[in-house]
């Protein structure tokens, strides 16, 4: 058995390496054939007559995008004072980030706030970081160096036509900087008040490799307080340490990137004993993993492959998962007025679960392949009207064939205004946990309560309608407003099965007896008041209505309707006082959540940066400046952590 697993693993690694070698040698081929730009020798008259037979892969301008797109730049991230990715995402309009405890967050887009974030697709450099176990994100292991993040692109709304399953309510793509842009050394060290940072240090060093290559290595570690007011004092630390490297190769004709990292972390979790007992226990969980990602691009062709390993050990279960992914995309303007993209992909994920009495998955080991293909065409209907048609099809191991079509229309009213509309279908197939998980909640001598697996769960369908308007009345003011409506079919409910008197077991089973409709509006305004002072404000209004279509679950519909804050407002100020001093503040106001019995709260974060030289910057940051202790999101047992004022100091030294 062990040998079989080893052989399987070895075969997969060899297959991935074979592919990466293919990619690398094609990159080497590009290096070998490189010469000077032949067009430099042409006259300007001749240059303007050269037909563009193959359009290069190029970033699409935000003003050309018929979607609710928001981009956080490296400068936004640096000046936010945030020390983790979920905290950074608070800056994005329409994204609800609520902290659960020291190491967990509930992150959602357009409602359905959940600790599993399972309607939101999250990627780092195109590598999906959601776990197929519950189709959500383990935010506690996404601890990349924020200083190396180039930008975070957030698409609110359905992105299924390009990204496929789980891109139901949004897509977050975190793009890190090229190794060429992180040359030299950087040391970042932090100390805090134990609520935010016990201590953290990150070291990165980048260097050139010959004429075309560059690379960087980094190491990062931190220790933070894992707080929970129900525990008798501190319950332990959240620790994480990781190593990684990235190398980039660029020629006139192609680029090649290889990125890898490995990590190990530990965190403390408070466990509440199953009824009728009331004791609490603190136990340690361990997380470790690694990934290897390769990306090769030439003209419009892009090939990406990655391997990802995740291992988590908790008191109630352990998970070992290997994922391999291969994607090929092509982007070309083959016909006049058309901008065509198409691609195919293959992903396989294998897991082995160590089951316990409290939590088990059947089968304990499973391999799920996923085949996908997409095509998207942008047509210029007129000089100022652009139509985008997209379709993604997937074949998964749970529900078989699925499709996500999308139609988008962009109207450039004039140079200052754009209006866009979109109609899309997205879907969320059942995850591994949805169909295979059994869980025991109560295990007393005379009564047992638990969740039993339902392998017949169906896909949740979403029909999405969006309308957006962008307006830039002056060069220093930009406004965007988006309205949407999503119709959800077959959301999951928890149905009680008839009580089994022979075993005294009351079983709960997930089923698809819930339909819902969400509607909302998102407004964001950016105002550069004068060169050193920028203000941004976001407002999000969300309303959800839900109805049961059968079954006996009377609470899911009500919890769905009231589990998301109806109003969220934030305002961010970025003030450059002098060439050396910056002062940034963010204020957030979040409405109540009735389903979680959580009150509305406000929080004010501030950051003061002093950069005495180009090489050194000192930062003092504070969260919850007004010290209003508040709850944000409950843990799996329904208990809240309480967050008050916290602060940290940080030093950046570039050499």
């Amino acid at each position: 058995m062990h040998n079989t697993n080893l052989n399987t693993y070895t075969t997969r690694v060899l297959a991935l390496l074979a592919c990466l070698f293919g990619v690398f040698f094609s990159g080497v081929n590009a290096l070998a054939t490189e010469n000077n730009n032949p067009y430099l020798k042409m006259s300007i008259e001749d240059l303007m007559q050269v037909p563009l037979s193959v359009a290069s892969k190029k970033p699409q301008a935000l003003s050309d995008t018929a979607a609710a797109v928001f981009v956080l730049t490296s400068d936004d991230i640096r000046r936010s004072g945030a020390t983790s990715l979920p905290e950074v995402l608070r800056l994005v309009p329409g994204i609800d980030v609520e902290r659960i405890n020291g190491h967990e967050w509930a992150v959602s887009s357009r409602g359905f706030t959940s600790s599993f974030s399972n309607s939101l697709l999250v990627m780092i450099d195109g590598r999906s970081v959601f776990t197929p176990l519950f189709a959500g994100v383990y935010w506690d292991v996404q601890n990349i160096m924020l200083e190396d993040v180039d930008r975070i692109e957030v698409v609110r709304g359905s992105g299924g036509a390009v990204w496929g399953a789980n891109a139901v309510n949004g897509v977050i793509n975190i793009m890190t900087k090229s190794a060429a842009d992180t040359q030299g050394g950087l040391i970042v060290t932090s100390v805090g008040d134990n609520k935010r940072e016990n201590g953290a240090m990150a070291i990165r060093y980048g260097f050139k490799i010959g004429e075309h290559g560059s690379a960087r290595f980094f190491a990062k570690g931190f220790s933070r307080q894992d707080d929970n007011p129900k525990a008798n004092g501190p319950i332990g630390n959240w620790k994480d340490k990781r190593l990684g490297f990235r190398t980039d190769w660029e020629t006139n004709t192609s680029t090649f990137m290889l990125d890898a990292s490995a990590y190990h972390g530990e965190e403390s979790t408070l466990m509440y004993a199953a009824a009728p007992y009331s004791a609490t226990h603190t136990y340690q969980s361990a997380m470790s993993g690694s990934h290897l990602l390769g990306l090769w691009q030439r003209d419009g062709l892009s090939v990406q492959a990655y391997f990802d390993r995740t291992m988590r050990t908790r008191r109630t279960f352990a998970e070992h998962r290997d994922t391999m992914d291969l994607d090929l995309k092509y982007h070309a303007a083959i016909f006049h007025g058309h901008d065509l993209q198409w691609g195919v992909g293959y992903r396989t994920t294998s897991d082995t679960i160590v089951n316990t009495l409290a939590l088990s998955l059947d089968p304990a080991s499973r391999t799920d392949p996923l085949y996908s293909a997409f095509i998207q065409d942008e047509l210029d209907l007129t000089n100022n009207l652009k139509l985008t048609l997209g379709l993604k099809v997937e074949n998964n191991n749970y529900t078989g064939f699925e499709s996500a079509p999308n139609i988008r229309l962009m109207w450039h009213i004039n140079a200052k205004q754009q209006l866009w509309a979109s109609v899309a279908r997205a879907y969320r197939p059942p995850s591994r946990a949805d169909t295979d998980l059994s869980q025991l909640f109560v295990n007393s001598p005379h009564f047992h309560l638990g969740l039993v697996a339902n392998p017949h769960l169906e896909t949740t369908d979403v029909s999405s309608y969006e309308l957006g308007y962008r307006f830039q009345p002056q060069t220093n003011i930009a406004l965007e407003i988006t309205a949407y409506r999503n119709d959800y079919k077959r959301l999951t409910t928890n149905e009680e099965l008839p009580f089994d008197t022979t075993t005294n077991f009351l079983a709960i089973k997930e089923a698809n007896y819930l339909d819902a409709m969400s509607k909302g509006m998102e407004l964001n305004v950016s105002w550069q008041i004068f060169e050193p002072w920028r203000l941004k404000t976001n407002y999000t209004w969300t309303r959800i209505s839900a109805r049961s279509t059968g079954g006996n679950d009377l609470t899911s519909a009500r919890n769905t309707e009231t589990g998301t804050p109806n109003h969220m407002w934030s305002i961010q100020s970025a003030l450059t006082l002098t060439n050396q001093l910056t002062f940034d503040t963010q204020f957030y106001a979040i409405a109540e959540s009735l389903a979680h019995k959580r009150q509305a709260y406000t929080r004010l974060d501030a950051r003061l940066g002093w950069k005495p030289t180009d090489a050194i910057e000192f930062i003092l940051a504070m969260q919850n400046v007004q010290n209003k202790r508040h709850h944000e999101y409950p843990d799996a047992s329904g208990n809240f952590s309480e967050f008050g004022r916290s602060y940290y100091g940080q030093m950046h030294w570039a050499f």
Partner: protein, 197 residues
């Protein structure tokens, strides 16, 4: 597993093929765009009050498309001076450039960079886009599957730039946001302010 191996080897072979095919296709938009930027040094004269330290410096906002081909211009001589290329993320950097390349995207960084050089002898150029292209002195656009240049001539002349009549014959001249005049109708303007490279 055998199926997966086949799929992976298929992609590896596809890569090798695609690489060879692509190697023969040198007509890329990025290279043409870079060549046009290179030629701008030949056909445009900078204001006389431009600091002497300004010597063929090309700066790009981080989201400017086609950076690979532009970085390849590094150290290529034009008018007996080497070209230097870099990306800029702050206003101090932008003010030290001769040409500032911005994507067509209206985002806070682009807006800040553009504002910071509004009174500096910096030639601003926007890639294909809608909003920002109306604010820069020069912009790229596509016409009949070809990459073309438009210039805001009045603003360029007011800023002290001089444009070669040879270039003016080829570009689209935009005098204000709502009015576009073809170069054929502007010959007299060429005679007045034109310089020969």
């Amino acid at each position: 597993m055998k199926l997966m191996m086949k799929v992976l080897f298929f992609f590896a072979l596809t890569l090798a093929d695609a690489s060879l095919v692509s190697a023969a296709e040198n007509q890329t938009q990025e290279q043409i765009q870079a060549a046009m930027v290179y030629h701008l040094f030949n056909f445009i004269s900078w204001p006389e009050h431009a600091p002497k330290t300004h010597q063929n410096r090309i700066c790009m906002a981080p989201d400017f498309p086609g950076q690979t081909a532009l970085f390849a211009l590094e150290n290529i001589q034009v008018k007996n001076k080497p070209i230097h290329v870099k990306t800029c993320e702050d206003t101090t950097c932008a003010k030290q450039c001769d040409i500032l390349l911005l994507s067509g995207d209206v985002n806070p960084l682009n807006t800040t960079l553009l504002q910071s050089v509004s009174h500096a002898p910096v030639l601003t150029l926007a890639a294909n886009g809608w909003s920002l292209a109306q604010k820069t002195l020069v912009s790229f656009y596509h016409d009949d599957k070809r990459l073309r240049i438009s210039v805001r001539l009045s603003k360029m002349l007011a800023s002290g730039f001089k444009v070669s009549s040879r270039l003016l014959r080829l570009v689209r001249i935009i005098d204000n946001e709502d009015e576009t005049n073809e170069v054929d109708e502007m010959d007299e303007m060429n005679e007045i302010q034109g310089v020969q490279p």
